[in-house]
Subunit: 68 residues, 12 copies
């Protein structure tokens, strides 16, 4: 039977949390294969000197199938 692994990464973006998740997923695809699902577990952000969000950050738990 298949066995999967879960890893937690943090994506970031200057545009939105949705984009931060997308960036996390893109990076994961560079080194992992067999991705089957994600879950967003935390949405936070850094605030700049102007009092606005300077970096959106999304914590993402990624599930992927372990081969062989």
């Amino acid at each position: 039977m298949a066995v999967a692994r879960i890893t937690e990464i943090i994506g970031s973006s200057q545009k939105s949390w949705e984009d931060a998740v997308k960036n996390a997923l893109e990076r994961a695809n560079k080194t992992l294969r067999g991705l089957t699902g994600i879950e967003v577990t935390k949405m936070n952000a850094a605030i700049g000197n102007d009092g606005k969000v300077s970096e959106y950050r999304a914590h993402v738990r990624i599930t992927f199938i372990l081969e062989g």
Copy 2:
């Protein structure tokens, strides 16, 4: 005094979590009346073979007034 009930449903969408919530709410309106509030309790997604999100899923707790 009014009594309300809470039910948990999962909406899905190919576009976004915001849309998944909207789909959940639309479906709830077909069978429930007196909806007063929602809370998003989980945001996850299925990933397709191309490594991208194939289906956004939002867990939504829905509160509605129980009549009579």
Copy 3:
């Protein structure tokens, strides 16, 4: 060494949760200085008589540096 404080506020919007967070942040900037970060801890909404979201609400924990 710097000491920071965390306060919890609730932003609202008729458009989206993203906008509700922005409104919370804008209001915080009126009375607080030295904001360094935020975390979204809850996303809920009020539903109107038409069964649609009438007000998006985002609970936001805000961190800011305490001066002197």
Copy 4:
């Protein structure tokens, strides 16, 4: 063997949380049979313009036996 179901409802009262629980239970008895237990999971309240509680609310998880 018996199978039970758990449903979550919110009772309200202008007098007390104890009364809000009672109202929730009374309403549940109108549509459900075989109730065996309850658990209070949240006690909150709405505050009126006079700064006093205008409505006590109790979240109640209700267990009841599923027949046949």
Copy 5:
């Protein structure tokens, strides 16, 4: 897009927790269609006068597709 609902039931058995889950699932199949998944969230038991388990109980969250 499909919308699913989650309901929580409690199965019981005189043999084991595994059997209690099975009983919960069998009962759910009598009234629900489109079941897609379950999660065991609690395993407890009643103890008889002889100090042994008299009834195994498993809390099970069941997900099923809402039609139409």
Copy 6:
């Protein structure tokens, strides 16, 4: 320095949760000395065949000083 211990007991009452806590505390005083504090961690109840509460139950964590 003093060392304290925490023990968890469940009081019951046919009148109210407040009374169930009192019963728990009275029983604790029979066998324990040096009680300094309590915390109510759960309020549940058994429901009788008439659909009303037959027994209020309060889970209470009790702190008491360990002598010598």
Copy 7:
């Protein structure tokens, strides 16, 4: 759109938890305006030398509208 803030206070009473919540709310009304809701998050108590409750304490999260 309105922005609200949540603050956590602890009310106390020699009579009951219900009274401890009321005391917390009364004190909040002295310095805060626009209160809209409360939630009781913890109920504990100090025990006196006679083994009885000497002071009921209720932790209360208070929501109030931030003006302007």
Copy 8:
């Protein structure tokens, strides 16, 4: 009214978690009377040098009636 106490013990077994729970319960019966219920709160295990489970461990919360 009856007052109960909850104690937490850890049973172990070389066969299974089910057996570890049974061992915990057997040991509890040696020193406690009036057991009414158990809840399994954690299932872990030690792994031996061969990479297989060498000891199953089950954390069990046991409820028993306090006499007199």
Copy 9:
């Protein structure tokens, strides 16, 4: 002093959760050395069209010693 790492994997089985844990452990032994313990953190399952469990899944946190 030794340093260990914890990784989370999901084992699956068509027979039971016990077997799903075993499969997770067997797969872990292929790529990891120095395993010392496991903890089962979630037990869920996929349901087939016949309303029965088609795949048991166990989330397992695995601890292993980091060499050198």
Copy 10:
């Protein structure tokens, strides 16, 4: 197989949390045998009139083997 029990105690110290844990452990050794492990679950402190810590307190869960 061995069965262990977990008990929760609170150690205190005027010097540090590390010392409060040590005091808790020393006291436990007076009445318990077969201690195998501890976990610190809470670190709090009382503050004196001078605004400084007057007593460090550490909540400690202690595991010990139950004999025979």
Copy 11:
């Protein structure tokens, strides 16, 4: 009866978490009176380019009496 308030601050230090807590407490004493207790709820740290801790951070919940 006295009413207290809880506020959450983050102390930092280049030496240790113990020192970070002390810094948080010192800062709190500048603007707050009637402090009665603290609880450490989180211990994290920033890591510098040399791979070592550059700043210890302790999240501290502070309780203080509200006057009049």
Copy 12:
């Protein structure tokens, strides 16, 4: 935008938890680059036959930047 990963390791020490964290961090620096932060999520310890701590253990979540 940068993407980071979080991994959980357990450091140990015969001296203190502070030292256990340091050991965990030192080991992480051998195989990971771009460490930016840590969080201590659990502090436990093994107790020896003399009833004293034989090994302090600290669970540490480590965040590090994923290159390229």
